[in-house]
């Protein structure tokens, strides 16, 4: 049985036929409007046909007598352009942006009216990854305009600068760079804008493309920008003096410069009382250390230094692995890989199936491998806990990095136990020391040591203590309290 006929030409398709009758030039549809000698050119899928008919054509009908230039001056549209003698390239560019080109066949002048179809975009929804129980529940969506509105309505000040850049030869992605003119450090703004403008890649489909291209150290596994789906988080970062950018088609705003501690602060920390917030933050940081070092510690102690453990605990540990045929390193790597497999399988599958996989994998495989004598149940507990601990990191990129760092640590601890583990720690620290985010130190409030910035780092102290912006950003306006300022900030030039 055949489903298709070879040799059938696409030309016979009715739509193509229809277009062939008209003048089709580079996808642009050129038509006589039938109103004196006006011609129109546009791309059917891009413009709003209804508005074209109702508004543009009706206006032409009513003002038949006008010349091109006069018509341009009188057309009641905000976004219109006039070009005395356009070449083909300009016409193409304008029409591809959603303009209708209007032209009198008797003259060369051309009017461009912006009539882009209202995009059908996802509605503003609840943030899914950075959900918070208290606080606003708006998240960015894929339309740049909507995202900018979400920010602008929270920051009604003329100091907010929005600069549009177009990146990507083919996708012509619009990127908006945002900062507060009277706060942000000019050097940071310049660095970000220069880097964005220097990108020569031909397609940008998401802000994460840009993040990877403008990072200070592209070889590092640690993220050097934070991307968030919460407009309020972007606004907070702008007010602190950071620089942000939003990409057309990406539901994430990105900001920098950031320091490593910011990756462990969730935005709800500002919505709950400061005691709770501080406790949670500290817990997250302990969780990070636990997640990176718990399994390697187990491996190094069991392999090389069982003398370290007091007698009672040692008995528990040794009985749990009497029948295990593998050295602890292999045992740990096997379990860690299992957990990673479960996570990856759960992430690739639809939510409902994913949950099942988690339960089946976690309970069945875990119990079975202990009963089969492949792993010790103490290690199973440690590995499961450290996997759990790695998911407490609020920024997804960072929690990935932390899970990845664990593997070299486990392998290292298989070499010389605790000694190689401390060396591993120093490797991480020296790498983090060398890292910068937009040229600012990555380990900022810890090193270079700035105690005054610690108020909002490991802990989140009450708002009345935090009267100043972080020193490491080198901002123009250091104070957050408005009574410091005699002049109205909206009188900013």
């Amino acid at each position: 049985m055949r489903f298709f006929k070879t040799g059938k030409s696409i030309k016979s398709h009715p739509i193509a036929e229809k277009k062939e009758n008209k003048q089709l030039d580079n996808n642009i549809l050129w038509q006589e409007t039938g109103i004196s000698d006006w011609e129109s050119g546009y791309i059917e899928s891009l413009i709003s046909q209804e508005r074209f008919n109702k508004e543009v054509l009706r206006f032409l009908q009513d003002h038949k007598m006008l010349s091109s230039k006069e018509m341009y001056e009188q057309l009641p549209f905000g976004n219109k352009h006039w070009n005395e003698n356009p070449d083909k390239k300009t016409i193409n560019a304008m029409v591809l942006q959603g303009c209708v080109a209007l032209k009198k066949s008797s003259s060369t002048g051309m009017i461009f009216v912006h009539l882009m179809k209202e995009q059908t975009v996802r509605a503003i929804s609840v943030p899914e990854v950075e959900f918070s129980v208290i606080g606003p529940k708006e998240a960015f969506n894929e339309a740049l305009e909507t995202n900018l509105v979400l920010i602008q309505k929270r920051l009604p000040t003329s100091a907010l600068q929005i600069e549009l850049i177009e990146i990507g030869l083919r996708t012509k992605t619009k990127v908006a760079v945002l900062y507060l003119k009277d706060v942000a450090n000019e050097q940071n703004v310049k660095t970000l804008k220069d880097r964005l403008a220097g990108i020569e890649y031909d397609h940008i489909l998401d802000s994460s493309y840009l993040i990877q291209m403008i990072e200070d150290n592209k070889m590092s596994i640690f993220p050097q920008f934070i991307d968030t789906e919460r407009p309020d988080r972007i606004v907070a970062s702008l007010i602190e003096g950071k620089v942000a950018f939003i990409t057309q088609g990406s539901p994430h705003g990105v900001y920098g410069p950031v320091s490593i501690l910011e990756f462990f602060s969730a935005f709800d920390d500002y919505f709950v009382s400061w005691h709770i917030a501080s406790l949670f933050r500290l817990m997250r940081m302990v969780a990070v250390f636990f997640s990176i070092f718990a399994t390697p510690l187990y491996v190094s102690v069991i392999t090389y230094h069982p003398e370290l453990i007091p007698d009672d605990l040692l008995t528990t540990l040794t009985t749990s692995r009497t029948d295990i045929p593998f050295p602890p390193v292999l045992e740990a790597l096997f379990l860690e890989l299992t957990i990673e497999l479960l996570r990856e399988a759960g992430a690739r599958l639809p939510t409902k199936v994913g949950q099942t996989i988690g339960i089946v994998g976690g309970i069945v495989i875990g119990t079975a491998s202990v009963e089969a004598g492949l792993t010790s149940n103490v290690l199973l507990i440690i590995v499961a806990l450290s996997a759990l601990a790695s998911f407490t990191t609020p920024v997804y990129r960072m929690s990935n990095a932390i899970r990845l760092v664990r593997f070299p640590m486990i392998i290292l601890s298989g070499f010389w136990g605790l000694l190689s583990l401390t060396l591993g720690l120093m490797m991480i620290i020296s790498h983090l020391l060398a890292l910068t985010s937009l040229g600012r130190p990555y380990l900022a409030p810890i090193y270079p040591p700035r105690l005054s910035d610690w108020k909002d780092s490991f802990v989140r102290l009450p708002f009345y203590v935090q009267k100043e912006r972080p020193k490491q950003l080198k901002v123009k306006e250091k104070r957050k309290m408005s009574w410091w300022k005699k002049r109205d900030i909206d009188e900013f030039e």
Binding site: T422, S430, A434
Partner: protein
């Protein structure tokens, strides 16, 4: 190759400079090295229960040297390589600067070899020397190639991460006997002088300042912090000495190579026993800053004299650091290496730097 580079004071970019307070961490980080694990035995050999006095006097002597160093550097600007050029001319300055560079490298080799010996004796008997020196030299290479700010950061972290080890001296002091510190001042001046000379080895590390002085933002302010750092080192050594003297009898002490490690054996927590494993592991961090700073200072000498970029010269220099420890195999050789470097340090501090100081008094300052 531009042999005239050291004629001019070095140009350090503002971004590569460090705040003067951080000199504290650099001084203390470089001074406290592997020596603290065993130095008490060497000075106790001469003065026994009076060792603590030698530590204090040794520390005071270092303050004098630091003061001289700062007055030379403050007056003539630049760094030691520039000062060599100013004082001795182009051709004489090259061998002098190179000797200093070599000395810096030697301090790194001493520290690394001695630490590897401690690891081989206490943790992993039979571990090939090159394996550990490979990982240490590799790490030091990475740190040095990232620039001076990162080295300072490592100094900061190594202090923060290891300062708690000092509190473990609580256990030996608790179990020790004050009577071991008596009688007071029981030795001749000759013995004290001998012990003082040996003690210099443990204070080695602050002389890297001669090389990194131009990297300090407001160098004159840093002097206070350098003194403070050295004073803290003296306090740390003092605590170590007193706890060791109290815990071991003189005879017992002479039978031990690593008294501090031996002390850690009685450190117990409800969840941890045999603390010396943890102690040695954390000492890896202390060693690392010693190595990184020495390696950097050595490469900086090459940079200043021969105009070779640090990023390039650090590779062959760290290769030497990797290979050199393997040539010292026995306890005796390691001891000799230590003695020899100690002597070099002694002459550097108490002969060469005073000499420079005297010249600098009579020589007109370069700036202002």
């Amino acid at each position: 190759m531009n042999l005239n580079k050291s004629k001019f004071p070095p140009q350090v970019h503002e971004n590569a400079k460090i705040a003067p307070e951080l000199v504290f961490f650099l001084v203390i980080g470089a001074q406290v090295g592997v020596g603290i694990l065993g130095f008490v035995r060497y000075i106790a050999k001469f003065v026994n229960q009076d060792s603590w006095l030698v530590v204090i006097v040794g520390g005071l002597g270092i303050h004098l040297v630091i003061w001289m160093m700062f007055s030379i550097l403050n007056k003539h600007g630049g760094d030691i390589f520039n000062i060599h050029h100013q004082f001795f001319g182009k051709w004489l300055s090259i061998p002098l600067s190179m000797m200093l560079s070599l000395y810096y490298l030697a301090t790194a080799v001493v520290v690394l070899r001695t630490f590897i010996e401690a690891v081989q004796n206490w943790m992993f008997p039979g571990l090939p020397t090159w394996t550990l020196s490979l990982i240490f030299a590799g790490l030091a290479y990475y740190i040095v190639s990232k620039g001076f700010r990162v080295i300072t950061g490592i100094a900061f972290f190594s202090f923060v991460l290891t300062v708690w080890i000092l509190f473990t001296h609580y256990f030996p002091i608790k179990h020790g006997h004050v009577i071991n510190l008596m009688p007071f001042l029981d030795h001749g001046l000759g013995d004290f002088y001998q012990a003082f000379k040996v003690m210099v080895l443990s204070f080695i590390g602050f002389e890297y300042l001669l090389a990194y002085y131009p990297h300090i933002q407001d160098p004159k302010k840093a002097q206070k912090w350098a003194h403070f750092g050295s004073a803290s080192t003296t306090v740390i050594y003092l605590i170590t000495t007193i706890s060791t003297l109290m815990y071991f009898s003189p005879k017992q002490l002479q039978g031990l190579t690593w008294p501090t490690l031996q002390e850690w054996k009685i450190v117990t927590f409800p969840f941890i026993e045999r603390f010396e494993y943890i102690g040695i592991s954390f000492f890896g961090i202390v060693i690392l800053i010693n190595l990184a700073l020495a390696l950097w200072a050595s490469c900086r000498g090459l940079n200043r004299v021969f105009d070779i970029k640090i990023r390039i010269s650090v590779f062959p220099v760290s290769l030497i650091l990797l290979l050199a420890p393997a040539f010292f195999t026995t306890r005796f050789q390691v001891d000799e290496l230590n003695n020899y470097t100690g002597k070099m340090g002694y002459y550097l501090f108490y002969a060469y730097i005073p000499l420079l100081f005297i010249i600098s008094i009579f020589k007109k300052g370069a700036n202002k």
